[in-house]
């Protein structure tokens, strides 16, 4: 008897589970410190840097990388790329989880998290772009939840509810695109209020446009990237329909992403010209700006194009990673590196260990939940009873 339990126990001790377990324990400990000792106990935030990596990574990058939900849904249902249909569910699930985690991270970051509903329900600061972001994230999370529910209902076998929701798909998708456009761009627009704090190479009145366009590239790349990950680790959950279309999706998204990155690059050049900031390129910040533009925007645009033309799936996969990295670099540049560029270097912020632990913890929670859901519910496969009914 005891041997059986031992074996059972041992089978859970996979490297994946051990690492996840350790991260989650560490995260829980820091959580306790954060909520009993205040922000000062776990972060390096100060009066010059009120926003640290919880905003840079968890909010700005989190939202941008969860853009796969609205891009894929729009491509499939609005623009009529029906062959992307099998990619919609994983993308929507990732987006839903992504946004849920963003909201979770915000509970750590704001001083009084229990007041997070205040801007919507108590007193509305409508002149604030953060109000815009908050309202849209709240509504979009609801939309994503409704888009995800059919998956849950199919799993549970609640047909009536599921059918009612599926009928609303188009409305939800268009709503999702509107809300995403708004808050993706508003995240960039947050910084338009502080031209004196953000380096001119990154500050632009076009910041909202930059953030929106780059979020499309981020979303598409994340779908490609996650697709290849899931393929490796969750292959057994995929039906032939998913597998048959997977290559199509990857090629189509690679092409689309290359095109979007081209547009993004062009827009950034327009921004430079519009504010006459070319002369800054000769400085240290200028060099870093060029690295961002050339290595993380122009290069992936080119590599995607080559990958799509040659049907080189390995190249596309690596380019997706490069693009995702590029978006992360961009968001960090805007919110940390080029922010407070006028301050002496000793006043600069660097994240504390415990801040990083919380960020890693939150990503880990996301991965675990994704695994839980996608190994049970009809995400990568069509539920046999509802075949072709979307």
């Amino acid at each position: 008897m005891s041997t059986v339990t031992n074996d059972d126990f041992k089978s859970y001790l996979t490297p994946f589970n051990i690492v996840t377990g350790l991260i989650i324990i560490a995260g829980l400990i820091v959580t306790v410190i954060r909520f009993t000792g205040g922000l000062g106990a776990v972060t390096n935030l100060d009066d010059n840097y009120p926003w640290g990596i919880w905003i840079s990574f968890d909010l700005l990058c989190g939202v941008a990388l969860a853009a796969g939900g609205y891009t894929t849904a729009a491509a499939c249902y609005v623009f009529g790329f029906k062959k992307y249909h099998s990619a919609v569910r994983p993308a929507v699930l990732t987006a839903f989880l992504g946004y849920a985690l963003v909201v979770m991270a915000l509970h750590y970051d704001v001083g009084r998290p229990w007041r997070l509903p205040y801007p919507i329900f108590v007193q509305q600061g409508t002149t604030s772009l953060l109000f815009e972001v908050g309202l849209c994230v709240f509504l979009y999370l609801t939309v994503l939840f409704l888009e995800f529910l059919p998956t849950l209902f199919e799993w549970k076998g609640w047909r009536k509810l599921r059918d009612a929701l599926v009928k609303m798909t188009l409305v939800l998708v268009i709503f999702g695109v509107v809300l995403s456009t708004l808050h993706q761009s508003s995240l960039g627009a947050l910084y338009t209020i502080a031209p004196s704090k953000l380096h001119p190479l990154w500050y632009s009145a076009y910041l909202p446009v930059f953030f929106f366009v780059s979020s499309i590239a981020a979303g598409l790349s994340m779908v490609i990237f996650e697709g290849s990950l899931s393929h490796k680790y969750l292959h057994r959950m995929m039906d032939s329909e998913y597998n048959r279309n997977h290559d199509d999706v990857v090629l189509g998204f690679a092409k689309g992403c290359s095109w979007v990155l081209f547009g993004y690059f062009a827009l950034k050049m327009i921004g430079l010209t519009y504010d006459n900031n070319w002369s800054y390129l000769a400085s240290g910040f200028g060099a870093w700006f060029l690295v961002e533009m050339l290595c993380f925007v122009a290069l992936p645009a080119f590599l995607y194009a080559v990958g799509a033309r040659d049907k080189n799936f390995a190249l596309i996969k690596w380019t997706a990673i490069l693009t995702v990295l590029g978006i992360v670099v961009n968001r960090f540049n805007v919110s940390l590196v080029a922010f407070n560029y006028h301050l002496p270097s000793e006043d600069k912020y660097f994240p504390a260990m415990m801040e990083i632990i919380i960020s890693v913890f939150i990503v880990t929670v996301g991965v675990v939940v994704f695994r839980f859901v996608s190994t049970r519910m009809p995400v990568f496969f069509e539920h046999p009873e509802y075949k072709g009914q979307h």
Binding site: T126, T127, V171, V178
Partner: protein, 58 residues
Amino acid sequence: MEFNSMHEFFMHTKTMTYLLMGGILVGAILWWQFLMGEKKPIDNPHRTGEGHDNGHGH
């Protein structure tokens, strides 16, 4: 109405605009259904709503 500052002015206009936006989104859905729901129950792939199969509109 009097506004002491641009901030007060924007606070007012943005609040009104947000309310209007909510109205527009709801209105868009209703209008779409009205527009796409023809009276004759012919084969119509656009129809999204339920229960409007006949007597739609008035």
